[in-house]
Symmetry: C2
Subunit: 244 residues, 2 copies
């Protein structure tokens, strides 16, 4: 079963519905969540196709992984497929995937224009529909602007609800970082969050990456997260960069 390898469910620690700062994206979250609950508690998906698109950092991956996490908690086996990571492999990876009642395909723009992949995806959509499963999609653009070659695939992707995810503004990002910290069990005072937003790249993937780093450092050193603590971390990083 070597095909399982790259599709293995490796969820990022902590991407869940409860630590997603909804901001302007509440409706998308609620629709996706309700669909997962129905898929898990009934025999057949109520919402066979749900399409989320938006710029990087708008929350596509977070929501898809939250859907998988919730599905797991509800006792069904979800499949999360980050196409960016597997596009150089063979599309036959997708064979048999429809045995899972929930399949989440992320980075779908990565297969646009690749006929073999497009055909494989189209076939998966059909098989999933026949099996009564649910497909959730994450992509950088709406179905008709992905650059797909197969018109039938475009129309399938647009079959269900299509949500455009919005980026958070700076105040919401600050809330999102603090919410995430709280869920990881440490408190991030507002001044620290502001300091971070003023000095670091403000896209959420970078900010959450920084949070990982802070979390680990504060755990190892058993220190409270303050601005002096962050400054020391920066110094350490600079020293490491110089000696590297």
């Amino acid at each position: 079963m070597s095909r399982q390898l790259p599709l293995n469910l490796r969820l990022k620690d902590g991407s869940s519905f409860s630590n997603f700062l909804t901001g302007p994206n509440r409706e998308a979250l609620e629709r996706l969540r309700a669909a997962v609950v129905t898929t898990a508690t009934r025999d057949k998906a109520s919402e066979p196709m749900l399409y989320l698109w938006g710029a990087e950092g708008s929350g596509k991956t977070h929501l898809l992984q939250a859907a998988c996490r919730l599905a797991q908690e509800l006792g069904i086996a979800p499949m999360y497929v980050p196409l960016a990571d597997v596009v150089e492999l063979t599309p036959s990876l997708l064979e048999g995937v429809e045995i899972e009642p929930l399949v989440c395909l992320d980075d779908v723009e990565r297969i646009a224009g690749r006929t073999e992949w497009e055909t494989a995806l189209f076939s998966l959509v059909e098989r999933l529909r026949a099996a009564g499963g649910m497909l959730a999609i994450g992509a950088i653009a709406p179905p008709d602007r992905l650059g797909l070659r197969l018109p039938d695939l475009v129309s399938r992707f647009a079959w269900g609800a299509v949500y455009a995810l919005q980026l958070l503004d700076d105040i919401q990002k600050l809330e999102a970082v603090r919410l995430r910290a709280r869920h990881r069990g440490f408190d991030m005072p507002e001044d620290v969050a502001r300091y971070i937003l003023s000095r670091y790249p403000r896209d959420l993937p970078s900010l959450f990456g920084l949070l990982d780093r802070i979390d680990q450092a504060s755990l190892t050193e058993q220190r409270r997260v303050t601005i002096p603590f962050l400054r020391r971390l920066e110094e350490l990083d600079r020293e490491n960069a110089e000696t590297a």
Copy 2:
């Protein structure tokens, strides 16, 4: 709002339905999970009272926290109250708790015989029922063997489903430890799990505590978890104990 303080939801990292090794306790898990889903997705709890009892290490706390975690994911605010931690405080803590649609009371044996607490709990049960909420209980004994003074409280506790949780046998414990490790993102080879079971206290709370320790050490040192790695950890602990 000082009353929020001791009741603050501090879930142990990783206690979820998907990393609970069900073994003989599948029915209890499924009933609790289904009840949480209904409570979260409808206006009224389908199962206003669910009582779990069993020896320490049988999974009461794990299941109650998993219920809270799932409730959070489903967008409702759960309340987890570890009575062991708050019994020395005032029962007025429980006032107003019924505004949350799911309340989980753990270690309920700790308030047995304390009239003030028993009265407060009885009143909470009535208020929650009126509000359409759900109460999940964890205790070391069934309702009629808790040593409660209020006969009405005994009968309320026995109103709904009462599950006796069973301890896992050694093979299941080994599976539980490996499942938990997998969910934390590291692989624990079978020989390592066996080694641990042969040398450490075999109750699950201790085993999961050890897992925390291993997880942190392997993260800090970026090492794979092997028997030599564990031996080194033991040596370190011994040295620390001697110098302390």
